[in-house]
Each structure stands twice: as structure tokens, then as C-alpha cells.
């Protein structure tokens, strides 16, 4: 694909823009911002990746991963603003996931220890972990609010914070991991997953593309479950003080 053909792809931007204008959807500004941002961001990433791949220097890989994690923390922390120290809790979660998955992949020689593999796979893992963290924090905040009465009841009967928060915590962990599990059940039936499509378009054999896609799917399953569990168990103590008092203000 050259610059001219890529320019023609802008037709796919013009269509929704015209429709938005015709039907007064008031989405034109957001669409233009989204398009401009994606062009700049992806081009920038493309050049940076090219540089990192060419240099194959460990420090550059580490810098890329640090930037990815920092961006993911920045994005997810807004959803957990009510939880004390959410920034470092997210950082610990993402770093743990990254170390665990890359450790297994490289340790068992499933993928080579080169930037070409480490960076894209890390991107998928951290990106997925970030989405999971946002899903979890959204649900956990709502569950804690909705079950405040039950939480206080358990405390009032002599329960510990861990016992009092058990139900909201488990419900949130389950709710946030279900989409990942469900989407994997129907994968390939409705749409071909991104990694696989990309590899096929780039000329890889479909069977090889499937093998790589399966690896990614299994990775994302681990990512989903560990993100929710780890973030959950790191987050709940912030809702209580040392006297085992619930820090949410009562609604009345």
C-alpha cells in the first residue's frame, strides 16, 4: 500500500462525516479529532517501532514498555479515582502481568526474545489489561455503592473488611472477565481476530496465523483473570481504615 492508496482510504472518513452532517448527529468534530489523532499517533508509533526494531537495544524495549504501562495507568486511573493509591495499584498490576506473560513466553521459548515479538505482544497484553482494569473498577465502584448496606451489616456483625467486601469483589471480578471468556467462545465464527487477519493479509499461511492467534487468546485469558483478581485484592483495603470502618460516606 502506498501513500496514494492510503489517501483513498480517507473515503471511509468522508462517508460518516457527510452522514453525520446530513443527519445532524453532531459528531463531526469528534470524528475529525479521532482521525487526526489516529494518523499522528500511529505514524509516530510506526517510526518509533522501526527505530527500536533496527537498534534491538534492550533499553529501548524497556522504555517502550514503560511508556505503554504509564499510558495504561493514566487512562485507567480516572475510573478508580475513589480508591486511595489507585495509580500504584494499577502500575503493580500491569507490571506483574507483563513480567508474568513475557516470562512464560520467553522462558519456555514460545516466542523469541526480540523487539519484534516483545513489543506487539506487550501492547496487546497491557492494552487488554487496561480495558479489564477499567471494566473492573467501573463495576467495583458501582457494586460497593449498591451493596453499602450489606457491607456495613457484615461489619456490624463482627465481620472483617475482607468478609464484608467479598460479595461485591467477587461479583466485579466475574463481571469484568465474562466479556473476554464470552468473546472467545464465538471467535472465528463471526469475525476473524485482528492479529490473525493482519498476518493473513501480510502473507502468512492461515494455519500459522491461527496458531499465533490461539497463543494471543490464551494470553488474554490469563491477563483478564489476573488483572481483575490482583487489582481487586489490591484495591479493597483502601475502602476501610485500621479500625475496620467503611470509608464510604453513608447516603442519608
Amino acid at each position: 500500500m502506498n501513500v496514494l492508496t492510503l489517501s483513498l482510504a480517507l473515503i471511509f472518513v468522508l462517508i460518516p462525516l457527510l452522514l453525520a452532517k446530513t443527519f445532524q448527529l453532531d459528531l463531526e468534530r469528534d470524528m475529525v479529532v479521532a482521525v487526526v489523532r489516529s494518523i499522528i499517533q500511529l505514524l509516530l508509533v510506526g517510526y518509533i517501532l522501526q527505530f527500536v526494531f533496527d537498534s534491538e537495544h534492550f533499553l529501548y524495549i524497556l522504555l517502550m514498555l514503560t511508556l505503554m504501562i504509564a499510558a495504561a495507568v493514566q487512562n485507567a486511573r480516572k475510573k478508580g479515582a475513589a480508591i486511595r493509591g489507585i495509580g500504584w495499584k494499577l502500575t503493580v498490576t500491569f507490571v506483574f502481568i507483563e513480567v508474568l506473560t513475557q516470562g512464560i513466553l520467553i522462558g519456555f521459548r514460545i516466542t523469541p526474545a526480540s523487539a519484534q515479538y516483545i513489543i506487539p505482544i506487550s501492547g496487546m497484553v497491557i492494552g487488554n489489561s487496561m480495558v479489564l482494569a477499567i471494566l473492573f473498577l467501573n463495576r467495583f465502584t458501582a457494586e460497593v455503592k449498591g451493596r453499602q448496606e450489606e457491607t456495613e451489616l457484615i461489619l456490624s456483625l463482627g465481620g472483617t473488611p475482607k468478609q464484608a467486601i467479598h460479595q461485591p469483589l467477587i461479583a466485579s471480578i466475574k463481571a469484568s472477565t465474562i466479556p473476554t471468556i464470552e468473546s472467545q467462545k464465538t471467535i472465528g465464527l463471526v469475525q476473524l481476530p485482528g492479529t490473525m487477519s493482519g498476518q493473513i493479509i501480510a502473507g502468512a499461511s492461515p494455519v500459522q496465523a491461527v496458531q499465533f492467534q490461539l497463543l494471543i487468546l490464551f494470553l488474554l485469558l490469563t491477563t483478564a483473570v489476573i488483572t481483575s483478581l490482583l487489582l481487586g485484592y489490591l484495591s479493597y483495603p483502601a475502602l476501610f481504615n485500621e479500625r475496620m470502618q467503611f470509608l464510604q460516606e453513608p447516603s442519608d
Binding site: L153, S156, L157, G158, N241, Q245, F246
Partner: protein, 244 residues
């Protein structure tokens, strides 16, 4: 003959509490006598429910000290304090599951079990038919849920029982049932009872002692008879308003 001096089960000393910067309880000093039923009365928003949450250790006072059996509550392990000072909440919240699961909850939190026989004994005490044992607790009527809630609190065998407006949404028959139950618990176990009620007639009928909270302050406290002829002007107006 002089009356017996009152032994405090709970004692407040210059207790202040505020929420989001708004003072809710102001400089509260007073006692709840051991083995008695104290009716806690006062207009809505006077800070009565908050007072109970402080007694049970669910909320920390901003300043001042609260004593249970003359020991500061800060010196108790929180779960131990909460088992000693049990609370039954206004809307009788139930956890998901059956009546049995709700009654067993206090035991389960300590890693223990409650036998069906014990559960039946508690149900019998609060006047709940045994056929409800395996009934979903959230589907019970308001009165039945209040009974489960009281029984569940009693499973911890508290020395002090806090009852937060537990009859406010009940019909007259259920209210009378609960009143009789409170008198029985106080008589049989010698449990100190603190009862928030908005019905002054009920307070006078059931209580031995009273606290009148007004606008976060303890406007009056003493023998229940003070509600019949209050000395304090504010309390006088409140009692008159409630009678009207």
C-alpha cells in the same frame, strides 16, 4: 431509700462527630445504664442513627471518648466490640439466601456453624414460625425481616443491643410483637437495650430511661418519666409537637 446508682453499660464523654464538615453530634456526654431499656428520641436528623453507629464502632468520633463497660472502645478489637454491642438496623437488610443463611451469618464470620436446632430456638424466641427457615430472607414481610434481623444480631449474644427504629414501618400487630420481644430479651438475658423510636407513647411504654437528642445535642437524659414533664424548653416543644 435511695435508688441504686446507675452502672453505665455505655458512656459518652464529650463526643463530637461530623460528616463532610457538617457537625452531626455535638459534645455528647452521658450514660446508657446497664440492664435497662433506654429510649432514644428526637426529631428526624437529630443524629440518632449516627449515635448508634458510633456505639457499634462503625464510625469513628472526631473527638471525645466512648466507653463500653468503662473500657474505651478504641481498646477493643473491632469485631469483638461489634459482637458485644450488636445493632439491628432500621430497614433490616438481609444478605442473599435463606433465613437460615442469615441467622448463621454471625457464626460463619467466625468460622463456626449454627445448627438447625439452634436456628429454631432463635426463631422461636423472636416469634418466627419454623417453616420460614429455608425461605428466601429477602422475600419476607417487613415485620418478619425485622424478627430475623433481631435474631441474627442476638446470635452473637450481645451485652448491648441497639435497635434503630425497627418498628417504624410495621403495622400495629407486628409492632406489639416486637415490643413484647424487646421486653422479653431484656428480662431473660438482662441485655442492655438502646432503642431509637419516633413514637413517644411507645418510648414511655417500653423504656426505663431516655435520651432526647435535638439538633446533634443531648437535650435531656434521665428516667423515662422526664418525657411526661420535661424541664428543658426545647424538649417540651418537641414532646408537645409529637403529641399534636
Amino acid at each position: 431509700m435511695l435508688p441504686d446508682p446507675l452502672v453505665p453499660a455505655l458512656r459518652f464523654h464529650r463526643v463530637n462527630y461530623s460528616a463532610s464538615g457538617v457537625p452531626i453530634l455535638k459534645n455528647i456526654t452521658g450514660i446508657f445504664p446497664k440492664g435497662k431499656i433506654t429510649a432514644v428520641v428526637g426529631p428526624s436528623g437529630a443524629g440518632k442513627s449516627t449515635l448508634f453507629r458510633l456505639c457499634n464502632g462503625l464510625r469513628p468520633p472526631d473527638s471525645g471518648e466512648i466507653y463500653v463497660n468503662e473500657k474505651p472502645i478504641a481498646d477493643y478489637d473491632p469485631p469483638e466490640l461489634r459482637r458485644k454491642v450488636g445493632i439491628a438496623m432500621q430497614n433490616a437488610p438481609m444478605v442473599d439466601g435463606t433465613v437460615m443463611e442469615n441467622l448463621e451469618l454471625p457464626k460463619k464470620l467466625q468460622g463456626k456453624r449454627l445448627s438447625e436446632r439452634e436456628a429454631f430456638q432463635w426463631m422461636d424466641l423472636v416469634g418466627l414460625e419454623s417453616r420460614f427457615l429455608h425461605h428466601p430472607a429477602k422475600e419476607l414481610s417487613g415485620g418478619q425481616r425485622q424478627k430475623v434481623s433481631i435474631a441474627r444480631t442476638l446470635v452473637n449474644r450481645p451485652e448491648i443491643l441497639l435497635l434503630d427504629e425497627i418498628t417504624s414501618s410495621l403495622d400495629p400487630v407486628s409492632t406489639q410483637d416486637i415490643e413484647e420481644l424487646i421486653l422479653r430479651i431484656n428480662g431473660e438475658f438482662g441485655t442492655t437495650i438502646l432503642w431509637i423510636t419516633h413514637a413517644l407513647e411507645q418510648a414511655i411504654r417500653i423504656g426505663n430511661y431516655t435520651w432526647v437528642l435535638m439538633d446533634g445535642e443531648l437535650a435531656a437524659s434521665g428516667e423515662i418519666s422526664l418525657l411526661r414533664s420535661p424541664a428543658d424548653e426545647r424538649v417540651k416543644r418537641f414532646v408537645k409537637g409529637e403529641e399534636d
